[in-house]
């Protein structure tokens, strides 16, 4: 890995396990390249810690291409750091200045318990999806796609909602640790398409009930989630979820 000329002070949240008490620990890093990604900078830190015989910092990451939704660092008070529309892995050290102090914390939410250091357990999202974020189809040959004409605007809106990678930045930044942007995106991507219609009102009720059961907070429309979302998921999805929820509860005769 190329060396550079940046000197940084990191304040990293270290926590042995979910029951342990954590704290911010200071680390000095020298000769960091501005071309490194934020996670590569953490790789350098971890190599140094391992060489010194210390425990490396545990953090989530997978594709490092900004599409998997695994990386989850709260950097200087913002999820995925200071840049808009990027994940932590796509954040580069050129976004910081030589001599900067960078505070790195895990996502903070009752529904996202800390596993270790910067890694949190986001399986609450999986359970919300399992509660209804799918369509039921019979097996067999896929029918011709043109059998189901879908207006372009509708298809685009569904696709934009489907861009959600489930990283949890919306929960992390929300002052109420609310998951409504995530849940509404997962509801909208199906509610906007014909294949999602048969289970539409059942789905919204089940997924919202699971979201509440997981202990996420209640939305107060600050818009922080939309501003911080690395995929630019819109607040329109939350309004759509609310409409569907109202339709399901007050108009639909089907009960869950």
């Amino acid at each position: 890995m190329s060396t550079g000329n940046m000197n940084l002070t990191l304040k990293v949240w270290r926590q042995k396990n979910n029951n342990a008490k954590g704290a911010l620990v200071d680390y000095k890093l020298a000769d960091i390249s501005p071309d490194m990604s934020f996670l590569e900078m953490f790789d350098v830190l971890n190599e140094q810690l391992i060489n010194k015989g210390e425990e490396p910092v545990v953090f989530d990451h997978d594709c490092r291409e900004g599409i998997c939704g695994m990386c989850s660092m709260f950097i200087n008070g913002r999820p995925h750091g200071p840049k808009d529309l990027v994940t932590t892995c796509q954040l580069h050290m050129r976004s910081f200045k030589d001599g900067d102090t960078i505070v790195v914390e895990p996502w903070r939410a009752a529904a996202f318990p800390v596993v270790k250091d910067l890694t949190v357990d986001r399986s609450a999202f999986d359970r919300v999806i399992a509660a209804g974020g799918f369509i039921s189809v019979n097996t067999g040959n896929a029918q011709d796609a043109n059998n189901l004409p879908i207006p372009k605007m509708q298809a685009d809106a569904a696709f934009e909602a489907a861009a959600c990678i489930g990283c949890g930045a919306c929960v992390a930044t929300c002052k109420n640790a609310s998951a409504m942007l995530f849940v509404s995106a997962k509801i909208s991507q199906l509610a906007l398409l014909p294949q999602g219609q048969p289970e539409r009102y059942r789905r919204v009720q089940s997924m919202v009930a699971q979201m509440d059961a997981e202990g996420f907070g209640n939305c107060t429309n600050t818009g922080a989630c939309e501003a911080e979302c690395p995929k630019g998921i819109s607040l329109e999805n939350i309004a759509r979820m609310n409409r569907d929820f109202a339709s399901a509860k007050f108009i639909s005769e089907e009960t869950v």
């Binding site: 202990g215 600050t222 922080a224 109202a246």
Partner: protein, 226 residues
């Protein structure tokens, strides 16, 4: 589950209640502000007292007053409940949280602004509502109506009270700046053709209502109206 199930106890249902009661209170403020603005006719409060007399004696209005208090209390208690739940949703706070990078300060401070408004409301109800409904307005005007305007003139001779009222209207303005558009978003009214109108109406509404209300103690204190 049958019927409405958890329609109002779920996270979205609780938001609906906040939004609906909020819009109801927004409508009330228009009536309240409109009638009070009659003092600016500058006829020694005669027209204003006609309005006040109507509001105090008409049975539909009095029944509406009960609904208003219920709406207000539901708005307050629901807000309290939501705030406590939301605090529980993040038991460990961030060491550094750059809220201003992604949201307006007043959208994150609705609880604080609402609490300030509640404190103001206690003072305000004691100043006027208790007097007009219970302890009685001491004098009558030339038309023989209870002279609520005289009570107003007397109360707003106190500079501390005037300052409290003006500060409260700042709280009201910011509370409404977020609350107005937020209520529509909560109720699902997010539509590219109407978003601009809703946002614009919210800003104008918040500013006009707050300035009109704040102008009342200022005008009385400085003797700008008779």
């Amino acid at each position: 589950m049958s019927g409405f199930g958890n329609a109002f106890s779920s996270s979205i249902g609780k938001k609906f209640i906040m939004g609906i009661t909020g819009l109801f209170l927004i409508l009330f403020l228009i009536v309240h502000c409109g009638i009070n603005a009659l003092i600016f006719i500058n006829d020694g409060g005669l027209t204003f007292n006609v309005g006040a007399h109507f509001m105090a004696t008409n049975w539909i209005i009095r029944a509406g007053e009960v609904v208003l208090f219920i709406g207000l209390l539901v708005h307050i208690f629901q807000a309290l409940r939501l705030t406590l739940e939301n605090q529980k949703a993040r038991p460990v706070k961030y060491a550094v949280n750059d809220g201003k990078a992604n949201s307006k300060w007043y959208s994150r401070s609705m609880g604080l602004l609402g609490t300030l408004l509640l404190i103001f409301l206690v003072v305000h109800l004691k100043d006027f509502w208790v007097v007009s409904r219970f302890t009685g307005i001491p004098t009558v005007d030339a038309n023989g109506h209870e002279d609520l305007y005289a009570v107003m003139k007397e109360k707003f001779q106190d500079p501390v009270r005037v300052a409290v009222y003006i500060l409260a209207m700042f709280s009201l303005c910011y509370h409404l700046l977020h609350g107005f558009a937020s209520a529509f978003q909560t109720l699902g009214w997010n539509h590219s053709k109407y978003n601009g109108i809703i946002k614009g109406a919210g800003v104008w509404y918040s500013i006009i209502i707050s300035i009109l209300f704040a102008a009342m103690p200022i005008a009385v204190y400085f003797g700008l109206i008779q």
